[in-house]
């Protein structure tokens, strides 16, 4: 029965290979891509099994936004920003949000200073995201420079 039902699901679903996301190891803000298609069929394979492909990972990650990032997710490094740059840029523009918080936490900013971190980032949106080609590395460097220049945040800068 299991196989019969499964087989008939297969029968009525078209299949499609997963598109490969473009984007180099250090691609810019404007190149981020959230890959995924709607419709019956597309995206079937990856999700048919709620599965994952490639090396079994146990806390390691690579980018889903089209900007590939290398291996381990090191909190505080540019790979975290690169992994959530799109959400982060939106949060910085608004001045609040979970991605902004996550980046603050990953940089070691303590709870008491997170509102300040958010404000400094928000007030300096144009410095952090000067144009659409800015890369995660540049964003991280600008954040660090801004923190260094702030008396309370300087201790978190690297």
């Amino acid at each position: 029965m299991k196989k019969l039902i499964a087989g008939s699901i297969l029968l009525v679903s078209s299949s499609a290979a997963l598109a490969v996301a473009p984007g180099g190891p250090d691609c810019g803000w404007g190149n981020m891509l959230f890959d995924g298609q709607s419709g019956l069929g597309p995206h079937f394979i990856a999700s048919s099994t709620n599965g994952t492909s490639g090396n079994a990972s146990f806390g390691m990650t690579s980018g889903t936004n089209g900007c590939s990032s290398d291996g381990t997710l090191t909190y505080g490094g540019s790979s975290l920003v690169s992994n959530m740059m799109d959400e982060f840029s939106e949060d910085v523009a608004r001045g609040h949000g979970e991605a902004l918080n996550a980046v603050a936490v990953s940089m070691g900013v303590e709870q008491a200073d997170r509102a300040l971190f958010a404000k400094v980032a928000h007030d300096n949106f144009n410095t952090i995201f000067p144009n659409e080609n800015v890369t995660a590395q540049q964003v991280t460097a600008s954040l660090n420079a801004l923190m260094k220049a702030d008396s309370r945040l300087a201790k978190y800068a690297v």
Binding site: A6, S15, L40, H43, G59, A93, R94, G95
Partner: protein, 657 residues
């Protein structure tokens, strides 16, 4: 008795240890290096003997207590009852690396004894040692047998320690991404666990780790084969741990699914037990079956390990539908609270709703060209309205660009909008999303119905069983409106003449109606296959068919939905004169209306076969919800199958269980 034995061993070991250090000192002064080595070897031998004795004592204790029958041991090794196995058990883990005994997968006793020996091995050190690889098993055995840690070899586990401190879990949250009809495997939703670290949870959920069980699809098969294997158990299943924000991106953004989060009341010690066990499951292959031993089933097993004495998996021998497992976890009293995390599209739709028609037009223009910001129409508005329009426009163009690379111009426009949003952000409010009814409050997944009816003056009684899951007319609380998934539905009819026969068998029957709006243009579709009766040239015949439809639907007021689909059908019918297998093309249209506790549906449809046989039908159905799992459904209809015309009426009582 165990404590006495241990005390004895602990004493002997400390004597040996002091002897050893004494010999070392002497060696420094009096003996040659060689002599000291001999002495060292002798003392190691003595030590080894003592450890051997300690181990033998423990093994005897295990035998006396038949410790391998302990539920916690069976849970840790994922043993399922299996009559074909001599021990009565077979593990769901299909991976030799998970076992210490050669036949460990089918022998809980041998595995326990071998694990115990492995913990005492001195010829292995570091990450490969059983103490590092099987942390939860090791902890459990130490506690059950009151093992004195001093008798065990001291082993450093750098890999485990690094991972453990990275995960830092103290709390656990059950995650349920809602139904996703456009992907057959996610139709029923999905469950995963999130491991949170305490006080700061609010701020760092994005950085929490998500635990997901799924098929390990690393092979490079061609896609059709790949999909088939995934559903039928051809792939092994493995646990994956990844940052939760990846899951938010995957579900909330790419798949456009809302997420329900259920913080659990597991204590830090219970979470710890689960985390240590999870480490044992790293890269370990399980059997994977889509319908029962799936993602949700394995999570229940993890929770059983976390809180010993909890029985969650027993009721899921046949199917483990994700939402049913959420209900089981709730019945076990583990759910503390609920939190709704809307998909990005849900937020966008709510924001669009908050704009007037004129503002919506401006928003659309702005999304296409940020220069509109300078126009008079825009500058007239208040800062608050402008901020709202810019916010919506930014989100809207990002939605439009999802899944495709932005051109240079699009990227520039996006950036311009975001800069605008930044300058107006002081007045931007978060969208107010209406939280839908919680999925675990929905009716149960299986359904039996009993109906009385009449067809062309002949009365009949019908009984039906549906294994899963939800029809368009069913009680909508907790479900997605316009999403129908029926699987394994059987209807048996007894005519007044006493004849008993199969009336209908739906293998699968999916109907996805998502209304199109000015801003969102989803397709509506259906897929339906199985056996059903059709009167063909005066004779009632059982036919086999595959039917599919593709079209659109639109909202009518708040609670109405109109749809029209072009359909295609392939039918095997012995009543067809020339060829038994005939294709047909047709139309399926209808109107669905929700009146709170009642849902009505009017259908007009028809098709014409290649051999010129044709059918048309009109039907009206109304379902009255009596209680969460009880309803009464009335159906009337008229059919014309070329020369045969007949009317039908039936009244059904339906119970979900």
């Amino acid at each position: 008795m165990p404590n006495g034995t241990e005390f004895f061993f602990a004493q002997q070991i400390s004597v040996i240890k002091s002897m050893r250090s004494g010999i070392h000192q002497l060696g420094g002064f009096l003996f040659l290096l060689l002599a000291s080595c001999i002495a060292e070897a002798t003392s190691l031998d003595q030590e080894q003997t003592v450890f051997q004795q300690a181990l033998q004592q423990l093994q005897q204790q295990v035998q006396q207590r038949q410790l391998w029958q302990h539920q916690e041991w069976l849970n840790l090794l994922h043993y399922d009852r299996d009559r074909s196995s001599p021990s009565g058990y077979t593990s769901a883990v299909d991976d030799a690396r998970f076992f210490n005994a050669a036949g460990g997968a089918t022998d809980p006793a041998a595995e326990l004894l071998a694990t115990l020996s492995a913990l005492y091995r001195r010829d292995i050190s570091g990450n490969a040692h059983a103490q590092c690889r099987f942390v939860a098993r090791s902890h459990w055995l130490q506690k059950q047998l009151s093992i004195d840690a001093a008798t065990l070899p001291e082993v450093a586990c750098p890999d485990y320690s690094e991972w453990y401190s990275m995960v830092k879990a103290q709390q656990a949250t059950l995650i349920f991404p809602t139904y996703h009809l456009n992907s057959p495997s996610s139709m029923f939703g999905h469950t995963l666990l999130r491991l949170d670290h305490s006080a700061d949870a609010e701020a760092s959920n994005w950085l929490s780790f998500a635990v997901n069980f799924g098929a390990n699809t690393s092979a490079e098969d061609n896609s059709l084969f790949y999909a088939f294997k995934g559903l039928t158990g051809g792939y092994p299943g493995i646990f994956i741990v990844s940052p939760y924000f990846k899951k938010i991106q995957e579900y909330n953004r790419i798949e456009k699914r809302d997420i329900w989060e259920y913080p659990l009341n597991l204590t830090p010690a219970e979470v710890d037990r689960m985390v240590t066990h999870l480490w044992e499951l790293k890269e370990v292959n399980f059997d994977y079956y889509f319908f029962d031993e799936n993602c949700s089933y394995r999570l229940l097993e993890l929770l059983e390990v976390a809180r010993p004495g909890t029985e969650l998996t027993d009721e899921f021998g046949v199917t483990a539908i994700p939402i049913d497992t959420v209900k089981a976890i709730e019945r076990a009293g583990m759910i503390e609270s609920r939190h709704f995390r809307p998909a990005r599209i849900t937020e966008l739709a709510a924001l669009i709703e908050m704009l007037s028609d004129r503002e919506q037009t401006l928003m659309q223009q702005l999304a296409a060209d940020p220069a509109i910001i300078e126009s008079a129409a825009f500058t007239h508005l208040s800062d608050e309205r402008r901020a709202r329009i810019i916010d919506t426009a930014y989100r809207y163009q990002r939605y439009q660009q999802s899944g495709e690379a932005r051109s240079d111009e699009q990227a520039r426009n996006s950036h311009r909008l975001l800069t605008l949003l930044n300058s107006y952000s002081g007045t931007v409010q978060n969208p107010t999303v209406t939280v839908p009814s919680r999925p675990e409050l929905g009716h149960h997944s299986r359904r039996v119905s009993m109906s009385l009816g009449e067809r062309n003056n002949e009365r009949f009684t019908e009984v039906a069983l549906r294994m899963a899951f939800h029809s368009l007319e069913d009680n909508e609380e907790g479900f997605l409106r316009g999403a129908q998934i029926n699987m394994a539905n059987v209807q048996l009819r007894v005519a007044d003449s006493g004849k008993f026969r199969l009336q209908q068998l739906d293998v699968i029957d999916i109907f996805s109606l998502t209304p199109r709006t000015r801003f969102f243009k989803p397709m509506s579709w259906k897929v339906y296959t199985g056996l059903e009766r059709q009167i063909t040239d005066g004779k009632d015949r059982l036919t086999a068919h595959v039917t599919a439809g593709w079209g659109a639907s639109y909202s009518v007021a708040e609670d109405g939905l109109f749809y029209a689909l072009a359909t295609g059908r392939l039918e095997h019918n012995k009543g067809f004169s020339t060829r038994r297998l005939e294709p047909a093309a047709g139309i399926d249209s209808g109107f669905l209306w929700h009146f709170g506790k009642s849902t009505a549906r009017l259908t007009l449809s028809g098709e014409r076969f290649l051999n010129n046989h044709y059918r048309t039908r009109i039907s009206y159905a109304q379902n009255f919800v009596v209680a969460r799992n009880h309803s009464i459904k009335l159906t009337v209809g008229h059919n014309r199958n070329r020369d045969d015309r007949y009317s039908q009426f039936d009244l059904a009582y339906r119970y979900h269980f």
